[in-house]
Structures are given as structure tokens and as C-alpha cells.
């Protein structure tokens, strides 16, 4: 037992990890113990709104193979990927500009980028309606400019509206980690690249992107996970474009008291997320150095 607590150089684990026990205990109590319970429950079944201990794979079969659930799962994954890619495509250049091209108002700008999060996400989702609707701001502009003579209806109650609103809501989560990494890159790196005759594109590919990849990775992970779990905004702005997995899980827990099926669905999407996260964290060694 004692040897387990000792690292190779004989330092005691407690000394080495210091106060680490406190946050770990917190997560153990408030997350992992109930999580283990949920895993167990995903193999149980429900009888007349009561949980019955059992060992059945039926919940997983239903979560993965029932046509409804399979379709909903795919749609959720597709949508989350689109949202993440769009957020990265516009969030990264923004973070770069603020971090590397602005001096005086850099802090102000980055705070402004996060500031929208201070407003209820529900209110912000609602606010897209008067912008995108049939007689909304955009359609009024399009009509006035003569671009179209009929209001464009696919702007709202469509996948487009869902992507616009979700990217808008999650963008700060992309900008912030990108900024955090970009802001502290050593400027001399770019001077050196320049001195060595690298083109702008080369500097971007071989210097900037590899060095800032951890920020993009963390940001993308944040956005992807939040998109996977979203359901209020898609329900509000998606029209008849379909359901998302978050909605299905909520229904199982809240409306049907079918916690085993809800748990199995949760385990499925968590498995997808965990695989992705592990790959990303390992790739960018956010989990520690591989020195």
C-alpha cells in the first residue's frame, strides 16, 4: 500500500499532489458517486413508474436502434459539428485580431466578447425572432434593397435559425480560450519567422496554428458539448426541422419517469463526447506533459 503512495523518486504522493485531495473529493461526492448510480440505472428497467433493479441491455438497444432515436442522434451530431465549425471559423480570427493586432483596447474588446453571456440565453434566443422573422429586420432590409420581392421564410424556424442562434450563444466560449492562448504567444516568434523569409501563410500553418491549437481545441470541445446538449433554442427556432437528443433525454426524465432509458441515452452521448475529449486532451497534452 505504501509503495503505491510513493513515486519513483520516493516523494510521497500526498506531498507531491498537495491539496489536490480537496477538489477531487468534491468531484467524487458531487459527481462521480451519482454518476456511478446513473450507469447502474441505465441497465435497470421501469415498471409502472418505479425503478426495478435488473440487468438489461434493452435501454441501450432502444437508445441506439429505434429509428426515432437513431435519427435524432444523427441530427444532433450533424448540427453540433456545423455549429462547432462555424464558431471556430469566425471565433478564431476574431480572437487572433483582438489578441495580436489590438493593443490599447485589447482587454476591453475581450470583455465585450464575453459580455453577451451576462444576458439570459433564453432572452437572447427570443431576440433572434424579430430579426429573422417574415417581417423582421433582415427581411425589411432585403425588401427595401430590392434583393427580393417576397419575404424570405427560411431565415426563421429552420436549421439556419438554430445554427445562427447557437453559434451566437456559444461563440464567447470559442473566442475566450483561443484568446487566452494567442495573447501570450511570444511576438518574437513571428519576427523570427518573418526574418527567415516565411510567407504569411507559412507562418500561420507552421507557427501560429500549432502554437494556438490547444485554445482552438478547448474552444471547439466546449462548443461541441454544449451544442450536443442544447434543446431550448432548437425547440424555439427550429420550426419543424426535428428534435434533438437533449429533448429526448429531458422527456424521459421529466415526463415519462423512464430514468433507465434516459440514462442509457445519456451514456451514449457521453461516450461519444468522452472519446472526442480524450483524443483532444491527449493530442494537445492538456492532460499533462509527455515529457
Amino acid at each position: 500500500m505504501r509503495s503505491l503512495l510513493l513515486t519513483r523518486d520516493g516523494e510521497s504522493a500526498i506531498r507531491r499532489y498537495g491539496l489536490l485531495g480537496i477538489p477531487l473529493a468534491y468531484l467524487l461526492v458531487f459527481f462521480f458517486v451519482p454518476l456511478a448510480l446513473m450507469l447502474v440505472i441505465s441497465f435497470w428497467r421501469v415498471d409502472n413508474y418505479h425503478l426495478v433493479p435488473a440487468f438489461t441491455l434493452g435501454n441501450y438497444t432502444e437508445a441506439l436502434t429505434a429509428p426515432l432515436n437513431a435519427r435524432v442522434l444523427w441530427r444532433t451530431i450533424e448540427l453540433s459539428i456545423v455549429v462547432t465549425v462555424v464558431a471556430a471559423a469566425i471565433g478564431y480570427p476574431t480572437a487572433f485580431f483582438v489578441a495580436r493586432r489590438v493593443t490599447r483596447f485589447r482587454r476591453v474588446l475581450i470583455v465585450l466578447a464575453v459580455l453577451p453571456l451576462w444576458t439570459s440565453y433564453l432572452i437572447r434566443s427570443f431576440a433572434w425572432i424579430p430579426i429573422l422573422s417574415r417581417n423582421g429586420v433582415i427581411n425589411q432590409a432585403l425588401l427595401a434593397l430590392g434583393v427580393t420581392d417576397q419575404p424570405v421564410t427560411w431565415l426563421l424556424y429552420s436549421n439556419f435559425a438554430v445554427v445562427v442562434a447557437l453559434v451566437g450563444v456559444y461563440l464567447p466560449y470559442m473566442i475566450l480560450p483561443c484568446y487566452a492562448v494567442l495573447e501570450r504567444l511570444d511576438g518574437r516568434l513571428f519576427e523570427a519567422a518573418d526574418d527567415l523569409g516565411a510567407s504569411g501563410a507559412q507562418t500561420f500553418w507552421y507557427v501560429l496554428l500549432p502554437l494556438s491549437a490547444p485554445g482552438v481545441a478547448v474552444g471547439s470541445l466546449f462548443v461541441f458539448i454544449m451544442a450536443m446538449g442544447s434543446y431550448v433554442t432548437p425547440a424555439l427556432l427550429g420550426g419543424t426541422s426535428g428534435t434533438l437528443i437533449g429533448q429526448r433525454i429531458a422527456v424521459q426524465y421529466l415526463d415519462l419517469s423512464n430514468q433507465p432509458l434516459g440514462s442509457a441515452m445519456s451514456v451514449v452521448i457521453m461516450a461519444i463526447i468522452v472519446v472526442l475529449a480524450t483524443l483532444i486532451l491527449r493530442r494537445y497534452s492538456l492532460g499533462g506533459e509527455t515529457r
Binding site: L27, R100, I131, V137, Q140, V218, S263, L281, L286, G287
Partner: protein, 269 residues
């Protein structure tokens, strides 16, 4: 420090394109907020543009609305408390993650830290409700706060860790070699270097907690937080008050930030 953030060279065209994109992104981020503020002054019961006239009645109403005011107070209390707990925990975790853990231990620790973030909120909410019921704890703002800590801890940790990874470990080693205690090393070396990340993490964590609906809903007792109040307001009726409260919050935040900026400039540190 200032050298590290020297401007990155860029062609004029590139710079123009980037600044235009950044401008558009900010327009995009603020479009719903501008609409919200406009609607807060709109003399109409409906969320429609253009404005039908200007009124202050929605603002008058929110200050009379006990539910909203109480929700606002509760949300601020919960968010402040949750951040105050999560930041120290996140500092310890990120330091262990980046500096101490190696190999397998590092992978395991990273997985542990990020796990709550990878859990759909609806699941997290159910898990926490289950826990509090097992432990016989009455749902209240305390349980909401404890739950929010689980929700925000991964964000806090990963943001701080991302910055810590860019800080040369030799600075801490040098401090240790010079005989500084662990505490001293933290206060004199690490915290100043980590300050921007800690502020960013705390800000983000505050906003996540402040805006959290699902987890709060499952763990509240008789005291509601603001998002829960707003959600129940829109479920069974709809008043443009919600735009007014949104406008008040964003306005207050702007004033606070401007004040902080002025203070910082005067202190010249």
C-alpha cells in the same frame, strides 16, 4: 510581459480583412442584445420591430416584480458563492494537471476534471437531485450553489491550465530553489502570471452560473434564481419585462466594466 504580446506582423490587406470580420462578429454577438434593449423601451406588448413608441413602463414594472427582483438577488448570490468556491479548487486542479501529473495519472486527472463538462446538463441535474435526496439535504440556494460549482469547475480549471501550460516551469523552480515556500511561490510568482486567466475563468464561471436554468431548476427549493423565474414567466404568459431586466443587467455590467477600466488606468500598474 509586454514583449510577449507584441503585435504580430500582418499585411495591410490581411489586417483590413481581419478587422472587418471582427467588426461583423461583434455586430453578430450584439444583434440580439441590441434588439433586447430596443424591445425593453418599446411601447408594445409584443416583441416586434420597428418600435411602436418609447416607454419606460417595462422598467417600472420590473422593480415592482418581486419574482424578478428576488430571482436577480438569488442569482447573484449563487454565482458569487459558486465562483468563490470553484476558483481555488480550479487553481489546485490546474496546477496538478499541468505541473505535477505525468503519463497515466495526467490522463486520468484530465478525464476526471472534464467529466462534469461532458455531461449533458439535464443528466447533471438529475444526478445532483439524486445525491441531495440521498444525503437528506433540503433543496435550497445552498444546493444550487454546490451544484453550480460542479458545473463551472471544469471551465475554470481548463482555462487556467491552458495559460499555465504557456508559463515556463523554471520560474517556479527558481523560486523553490531560492527557498520560497509553496504559498510564497503561488502568491509571488504563479498568481500574478495567472491573473488574466483567473479573471477570465471567474468571469466565464460567473456568467455560466448566472445563466444556468436546468441544473438550478432541479436543485432549487422555494427560492428561485433569475433564469428559472424568466422560464416560468414565458411559460404561462409573456411580458416584455424580461427584455427590461436583460437591459438592466447588461447596462449595469457595462458601467461596472467602464469603472474598472478607469480605476485600472488611474492605478497604472
Amino acid at each position: 510581459m509586454s514583449k510577449a504580446v507584441a503585435m504580430t506582423p500582418l499585411t495591410q490587406r490581411g489586417n483590413a480583412a481581419l478587422s472587418a470580420l471582427t467588426g461583423l462578429v461583434f455586430v453578430y454577438l450584439y444583434a440580439p442584445i441590441v434588439v433586447m434593449v430596443l424591445l425593453a423601451f418599446n411601447d408594445s406588448d409584443l416583441a416586434v420591430l420597428p418600435l411602436r413608441g418609447v416607454t419606460l413602463r417595462w422598467f417600472a414594472k420590473i422593480f415592482e416584480d418581486e419574482h424578478l427582483m428576488e430571482g436577480l438577488r438569488n442569482s447573484i448570490m449563487v454565482a458569487v458563492a459558486a465562483v468563490a468556491i470553484a476558483v481555488p479548487l480550479g487553481l489546485i486542479l490546474s496546477h496538478a494537471l499541468v505541473r505535477k501529473a505525468r503519463g497515466r495519472a495526467a490522463g486520468a486527472l484530465a478525464a476526471i476534471v472534464s467529466a462534469p463538462m461532458q455531461t449533458p446538463k439535464i443528466v447533471l441535474a438529475t444526478l445532483l437531485l439524486l445525491l441531495f435526496s440521498l444525503a437528506g439535504i433540503r433543496p435550497s440556494l445552498v444546493t444550487v450553489t454546490l451544484s453550480h460549482v460542479v458545473l463551472i469547475l471544469p471551465f475554470v480549471t481548463l482555462i487556467i491550465a491552458a495559460r499555465l501550460r504557456g508559463i515556463d516551469p523554471s520560474m517556479e523552480e527558481a523560486a523553490a530553489d531560492l527557498g520560497a515556500s509553496v504559498l510564497r511561490t503561488w502568491v509571488s510568482v504563479l498568481l500574478p502570471l495567472l491573473a488574466p486567466a483567473v479573471v477570465a475563468a471567474a468571469l466565464l464561471a460567473f456568467t455560466i452560473s448566472f445563466d444556468e436554468m436546468v441544473v438550478s431548476y432541479f436543485t432549487i427549493g422555494t427560492e428561485s434564481t433569475l433564469p428559472v423565474v424568466i422560464w416560468s414567466m414565458v411559460s404561462y404568459g409573456y411580458s416584455q419585462e424580461i427584455n427590461a431586466i436583460g437591459a438592466v443587467i447588461i447596462g449595469t455590467t457595462l458601467v461596472l466594466i467602464a469603472a474598472a477600466q478607469v480605476l485600472q488606468r488611474n492605478q497604472r500598474f
